[in-house]
Amino acid sequence: MSDNVGSIVGINGNLITVKFDNPVTQSEVGYARTGETALKAEVIRIRGENAELQVFEDTTGLKVGDPVEFSGNLLAVELGPGLLAQVFDGLQNPLPKLAEQCGFFLQRGTYLKALDREKKWTYTPRARKGDELTAGDTLGTVPEGIFEHRIMVPFRLTGKWRVEEAAAAGSYNVDHVVARLRNERGDIRPVTMVQEWPVKVPIKAYAERKRPVEPLVTKVRIIDTFFPVARGGVYCIPGPFGAGKTVLQQITSRHADVDIVLVAACGERAGEVVETLREFPELTDPRTGKSLMERTMIICNTSSMPVAAREASVYTAVTICEYYRQMGLNVLLLADSTSRWAQALREMSGRLEEIPGEEAFPAYLESVIAAFYERGGVVKLKDGTTGSVTIGGTVSPAGGNFDEPVTQATLKVVGAFHGLNRERSDARRYPAIHPLDSWSKYPGVVDEQQVADARRVLRQGNEVSQMMKVVGEEGTSIEDFVVYLKSEFLDAAYLQQDSFHDVDGATSADRQKYVFAKIHGILVAKVFFPDKDAARKWFLQLTSVTKDWNRVAMDAAEFKQLEQRIDAMLAEVSENA
């Protein structure tokens, strides 16, 4: 318990004004006491003798004069073995444990340790007595699910530290001291398997940052082929409601080719989290054969949970990602939705009576968003291995209009933009990523030249279709009409994907290369038809065969048969026929 206590002088929603006597630190955590309950809060502004704190809970019942204890610590998370497969709220309270304790409802002021204190871990020491180490170096390992979890020198230790004492191999709980370290000045630090780290500060215990160039395969064709994401890259998915943002995130969380996926449900529907929560333990991860939950973590601060914790939740999430990155793992953070977090900023900014920027968002919105996405990246660790944090954030623009401040601020800092489109989703063309408006700066899995050709077909097809709206089908030449049909074929047979189908829903990189080469062949082939009806009929049939082709496994006999049928169809209408 801290002896730095202030007292409340004002309450406005979840913002409290506190008069203090001893020094307070910007962004430190305080606890507002009402009766037996202590509500967690964070200092966000200091003016004269008053500090303003955002409370992470409902402030009903607080009174002027109630005490607030300042902890002296910044908002931090616990890092250690046992985070995987867990479900936390935005402040890292384990929700299932909270349910055991409090029942159906989230009782305010109840804070539990993130990590299980009883569980024993099989510890294998790696550092020996006398070794000289720096922050982030490995002291030993414990197996956590399918991974080797590194117990590292705490990131906050600066300078060089010599191992004075190292625990032998054995079975310990997380609070067991596994090493004692001593620095040049003679300070001695006992190190356990748990360390704390302030969420708003990036972990930098690595050798260097590298450029993200290796593709991250999501098995969604339109993404991997046309708008790829790189490991350690950052991308955003803006879209109006009902366009499929969340489904796309869920699909990605299942199939993405990374070691660990962290789903941060920030201010969204609880029902969607429940689906992940209940279904993932039942699904198998094709990479490991184990349950998908073993590589997944969920941070959920759904829309009805306290607003201030929503902002904390994205930082909690990215900090945990960075921690696993330090073990040489590839981690994917899926944040749904960053707009809700921006709205939380806006609410606080309004209560602080700051001068509003566009649409009443605070003026610092852009820099906050930029700083968050900058925490993604590929790093070379001190032991030479690499790890990465990839961040994919959805954006929910008001009215589906991408000109709003959150979308625009996000677009400035991401490397790929998957813009979801209402017309496409209304036409049931899923995933509803717009093939002409979206972009990516990352390298993809498919030959670049082929993709460029396909993009040209899409663009030209779109032009023809615009023209046809004016002059009608009769006024369009058959050459133009075929270009249009080709672009529609590419859309229907490749860009669209049935995410609920076992085979079609997940297309591996190899399969994408193979299938796309075939499709490319069709797009560039010179094809001839007697009239437009014949052309339409042929393309409709080709689309249906190709769709069937997408739905059979690559090693099935039918795969070859359908491919031969496509070849035969193409030969019928080609020049040489």
């Binding site: 406005n12 009903t60 607080l62 002027v64 609410e347 009443a360």
Partner: protein, 433 residues
């Protein structure tokens, strides 16, 4: 403890300010004005200044009016005696029945732990084909009805309430016309459903602050029934009035507006209510159907827009019918796979054909020649609108599916519908002639 304060420093809109000590945030108070006594709630504290919003409005409150703090938060009595009763937005009877005072429960309680929710699996049958067949309503779903003013949304709500297989109906009326309220009550009574209903009614003539309380009070009661293993259907009409009440208070409190005058926390405020929809693990459920009128029929207006991001789909009510395009039940996949083998196929095929009908209509209006196929579509579209979309149609799901097959069979050959031959072999009606 209950000290009385006599000096009201400021009266602005429905918010009054007094100087007082030891007051809790969210505490209730009684304010006596020349027009009578009203409840008020603390919404902001600044040193010894206490800001209260007065439920009955500030009209008639004088600077020397009495303010007595009650030492507790907004609450409502929860007993089975609530059933069949009508209350106003602050929980007082408006049906001349007795006051209820036992077992008081707080309103606006904490949210449900996501770990205690389960994936919804049970369909709510309504007898309306446009819902049952095309966008099934699922227990614990939160679903708004988007409609322009003048659409028969209240009639639709009343019908769903009467036909849905639920244990308890709670109606939260916000900004209702008095006639509409009476009509709701009479309809429920006429069908003998009033005994399992509770009505919390704010009419357009009542004070704004009470409008703001209606969803909380309705949902707090719903939650208690759900915990007692009851299946509760909450009807809220109209949530745009609720949002407007929020706007009014926010502006009075000099908050910086974000979009068209609405406060920056509109999304959170709406979500806090809608997210009360729940299927408890090991207890009952709450399903929320809410009307959101769209000012100017504009879905990008902040209220429908924010709502769409929160709810699990939406029904568009247009020209007295539920629009098949745009309407969506995000949870329908959870239930429509196990109703009948042909459910999903009928759903998809009929909508695709209806979309083609719409294209044909467009062609027709532009004066293009109608082909034989076009004529079939025209025949189909008319029958679809008359026999499926019309809101007076009231048949169970199975009968609606059979009717769907019949309409298709009367208009098309089986292979023209694109339905797999396996299904047409079983379900395609045999020609009677």
């Amino acid at each position: 403890m209950h000290k009385v304060y006599h000096r009201i420093e400021q009266i602005a809109g429905n918010v009054i300010t007094v100087r007082a000590a030891g007051v809790m945030n969210g505490e209730l108070a009684q304010v006596v004005g020349t027009l009578g006594t009203s409840l008020a709630q603390v919404i902001r504290l600044d040193r010894d200044k206490v800001f209260l919003q007065v439920f009955a409005g500030s009209r008639g409150i004088s600077t020397d009016g009495q303010v007595r703090f009650l030492g507790h938060k907004m609450d409502i009595s929860f007993t089975d005696a609530l059933l069949g009763r009508v209350f106003n937005g602050s929980g007082q009877p408006r049906d001349n029945g007795p006051d209820l005072d036992e077992n008081r429960i707080a309103i606006g309680g904490p949210s449900v732990n996501p770990a205690k929710r389960i994936i919804p699996r049970k369909m709510v049958r309504t007898g309306i084909p446009m819902i049952d067949v095309f966008n099934s309503l699922v227990e614990s779903q939160k679903l708004p009805i988007f409609a322009a003013a003048g659409e028969p949304y209240n009639e639709l709500l009343a019908r769903i309430a009467l036909q849905a297989e639920v244990d308890i109906i709670i109606l939260g009326g916000m900004g209702l016309k008095h006639d509409d309220y009476l009509q709701f009550r009479d309809t429920l009574e006429a069908h003998g459903a009033l005994a399992r209903s509770i009505l919390f009614i704010h009419t357009a003539a009542d004070p704004t602050v009470e409008c703001q309380m209606v969803p909380d009070i309705s949902l707090a009661v719903a939650e208690q029934f759900a915990l007692q293993n009851k299946r509760v259907l909450v009807l809220l009409t109209d949530m745009t009035s609720f949002a407007d009440a929020l706007k009014e208070i926010a502006i009075t409190m000099e908050q910086i507006p974000s979009n068209r005058g609405y406060p920056g926390d509109l999304y959170s405020q709406l979500a806090a209510r809608y997210e009360k929809a729940v299927d408890f693990e090991g207890a009952g459920s709450i399903t929320i159907l809410a009307v959101t009128t769209m000012p100017g029929d504009d879905v990008t207006h902040p209220v429908p827009d924010n709502t769409g991001y929160i709810t699990e789909g939406q029904f568009y009510l247009r020209n007295g019918r539920i629009e098949p395009f745009g309407s969506l039940s995000r949870l329908k996949q959870q239930v429509n796979g196990k109703t009948r083998a042909d459910h999903r196929t009928v759903m998809n095929t009929m909508i695709q054909l209806y979309a083609s009908y719409k294209e044909t209509l467009e062609k027709q209006s532009m004066g293009f020649r109608m082909s034989a196929w076009d004529n079939k579509l025209l025949k189909y579209g008319e029958r679809f609108e008359k026999e499926m979309m019309d809101l007076t149609v009231n048949i169970p799901l199975e009968a609606a599916l059979d009717l769907g097959w019949q309409i298709m069979a009367d208009c098309f050959e089986p292979e023209e519908t694109g339905i797999s031959s396996k299904l047409t072999a079983t379900f395609w009606p045999k020609k009677t002639a």
